[in-house]
Each structure stands twice: as structure tokens, then as C-alpha cells.
Subunit: 202 residues, 2 copies
DNA sequence: CAGGGTATCATACAGTCGTACGAGAGAGCA
DNA sequence: TGCTCTCTCGTACGACTGTATGATACCCTG
């Protein structure tokens, strides 16, 4: 049996270690990650962690890739929504850190966004994640355009760029804000989407 | 001579060390910061760094506070702009990482946004910076509202929340994007501002 | 039941970390 | 001149770092 050459899905112990790394980053921050702290978190010997991830750098990259896989998987599991604008808003809302699970993912994503600018090995995972995000939004906006719902002054490209930035900014807010701010996050996201595409009132 | 009890401006060697820390973070990332790497960057002995910043934690906090001071100072030096909406856009544009200096500041701000969620000592500096940002925008929107330029559906509060998030999201883009993306950043920011307040055409 | 690949573990080593500490230089004042 | 306060420096120590390596245990195939 042969895996796909690129971006095969992480499974088994390797995924467990990546998940443990994610937990460490989300709980204590980027620079607490070491072969030993992750091994303790995962309940494994340090050598086992090293067997699956040759270096600390590998470990960080693995955590970020795994985090991306988790997000994409969760997005794919969303209940179907016919209306294109509502579906877009639904998808973007799913990215906001509104519960513990998504907060963990949000912290990782922001950490990746930050680290990508100084750590070459993380640049590619970040850019791939961002490209996926923008492209998904762009596809939705193309469908909206075909339905005549794209508002004046926007193209699918400019709208995707705008909404991706807004969502990322709101994610930053969310990982540092108390739960009482959640309605404001949702409102700002809805305002942004409504600015780019026409939304039904209900 | 007695300094103000709170938030006095950093000067002298202490400011030099904080600036060196900023350079290290911007160039090599958060977790390269140590008493020794900063001392080397500043051209000082490790002990001198320790005299001014008792611990590594102090050093990180100092760099972030200093970065905030630099941003606020630069905003205050902007040329006067009468029109309230244009002034708002001017101020927000100044926050985008469109040149080397602002890119350094942007990297620090994003690193702070990320680290604040897991490092208690950085939570306060981050929240203060964010509050300053939102409040400055809010003041501008209040003036716009008085001039009848605030668009339907927005309050100064909701508009400030929205534009702060958008600007932060675009800052993330900017620190990781090539210069060729700058026009897109400016366009998205202008689109966002134009959504909240009426802008003259010129 | 051999044998070999795969996975797990424990340990080892050199280097860096955070931090504490004391020695000394220089300025200001009595 | 001494005395004190502020600042700078260099070093020391234990803990932890990244990474390499060798010893086991397990499973599959023959």
C-alpha cells in the first residue's frame, strides 16, 4: 500500500503526538514545545516522539499541518446549507474560536501566522492554509456572483481577500477575549459578509 | 526627580535594550530571545541586560511595551488631516506593515497578539494596546457621526470593533506577504473604512 | 520457529538556558 | 579625601535543550 505522495493524512501515534503538541502550544505557548514536554503530554518516552518527528522543527511543522487537517475536516462535516451567502457565513463562523475546540485551533492558527514570518519551515504550511482559506471563500463568492448576489465594487478575489483578513482579525480577538465578546465577533463577521454579498433577512 | 507612577516612557540604555529585543524578535522570532542573544544584539554584557530587565519575561514585556510606545509616537507625528474619514484611513494605513519599520512593528504586534493568550504577563500589554486602538478609531467614528458621515447600521463601537479586527487581519497578511501584495492590503482597508463611513471620491 | 523490519524506550553528550552573585568603574557629595 | 549610589561587567551553577545512539520488544512473513 502506498500513500499519496503529498499531504497524506496523519494517523496513529504520529497524529497523537501532533495532537499533544497542539495541546501544549494552546495551553502554554510556542516556546514550551520540546521533545520532552510533548512526550510527557502524550504519555510517551522522548525517544518515541523523536522517532516520529526527527527534530523540534519537525514537531512544530507537524502540529501546524495536523491543525490544518483538523480544521478542513471539520469544515467538510458542516451540515449542508443551500443559500450561498448563508453557507459562506456558516463556514467563516466555524473558524471563529467560539468554543474550546475552535479556540485551540484558533490559537494554533494565529501562532502559525505569527511564526511564519520568521521561521522558514512554517512559511509553506501557513501560505497553504491561507491559500485554502481564500480560495474556499472565492469559490463561494463566484457562486454568489452567478446568482447576482455579489455586491457592487467587489470581485470574488477582492472579496475573498477582504473576508479572510477580517476573519483572521476576529480570530485574534476571539482567542484573547472573554466569552461575553462572542456576540460582537459574530456581529462583525456578519457585517463583513453582508458587505460583500446580499444576505436574506431571516 | 520623580517619574510618573505608571507607563513612563522608556529612555536610555533600557530603551536600547528593548529595541534590540524588538530586532531579535522581528528577525528570528519569539523564542530566540534570551538574555544573551539580546545582549549580543545590543552590544552589551549579559549582566547589563539583566540589570535593566530582571528576567526573560521582563524582557519580552519590555519589548512589547516599547513597541507600543513607538507606534503611538509615530501615529502622533502624522501630518494633520482635516477630513475625518480620510484621517481615519490615514491612521489605520500607518499601522499596516508597508515598509521595513512598520513591518518590524507589525511582527511584534502579531507576536504579542498570539502570545497574550498563553502568557499572563503579556495579556495586559496586549489588551491595553487593543483598547487604545479601538478607542482611537471610536473617537474618529464619533466625529464622523457628528458630521453625519457614519453609515447606516453602524455605531462608533461596532465600527471600531470591526475596523480594528480588519486592520489586524491585514497586518497578519502584510508581515507574510511580498511587497506586490501591498496594493491589495490598501484596497481592502479602504473598502472596510468606506463601509463604515462615507468617503469623498478624490 | 527463525529472521527482519518497525516501533518504543532509556540514556548520553555538548550546548544553551534563566538567574544569582560579586567585583569594579564612575559620578556626586560631604 | 572617603562614602554611597548607580551602572556595567563577567562568571558560576543547576536545569533543560536538541539530537544521536544502542538496547529491547513486537509483529509479520517465510
Amino acid at each position: 500500500m502506498q500513500d499519496a505522495p503529498q499531504s497524506h493524512f496523519m494517523t496513529g501515534v504520529k497524529a497523537d503526538i501532533a495532537d499533544a503538541t497542539i495541546r501544549v502550544i494552546a495551553r502554554a505557548g510556542f516556546d514550551v514545545v520540546s521533545v520532552r514536554t510533548v512526550a510527557k503530554e502524550a504519555g510517551l518516552a522522548p525517544g518515541t516522539v523523536q522517532y516520529h518527528f526527527r527534530s523540534r522543527e519537525d514537531l512544530l511543522v507537524g502540529a501546524m499541518v495536523r491543525n490544518g487537517q483538523r480544521i478542513v475536516t471539520r469544515l467538510a462535516e458542516l451540515p449542508p446549507e443551500e443559500h450561498v451567502a448563508k453557507r459562506l457565513l456558516q463556514g467563516l463562523t466555524e473558524l471563529l474560536p467560539l468554543d474550546e475546540r475552535r479556540k485551540e485551533e484558533g490559537i494554533l492558527w494565529v501562532a502559525l501566522s505569527s511564526a511564519a514570518s520568521t521561521r522558514p519551515s512554517l512559511t509553506t504550511p501557513y501560505l497553504e492554509g491561507l491559500a485554502f482559506m481564500r480560495d474556499t471563500i472565492r469559490q463561494a463568492l463566484i457562486r454568489a456572483q452567478q446568482a447576482g448576489a455579489l455586491r457592487d465594487g467587489w470581485t470574488p478575489e477582492s472579496g475573498a481577500f477582504f473576508l479572510a483578513a477580517l476573519t483572521n482579525g476576529l480570530t485574534i480577538d476571539g482567542i484573547n477575549a472573554p466569552e461575553s465578546d462572542h456576540p460582537r465577533l459574530l456581529q462583525a463577521l456578519a457585517d463583513g459578509v453582508r458587505n460583500v454579498v446580499n444576505m436574506p433577512d431571516d
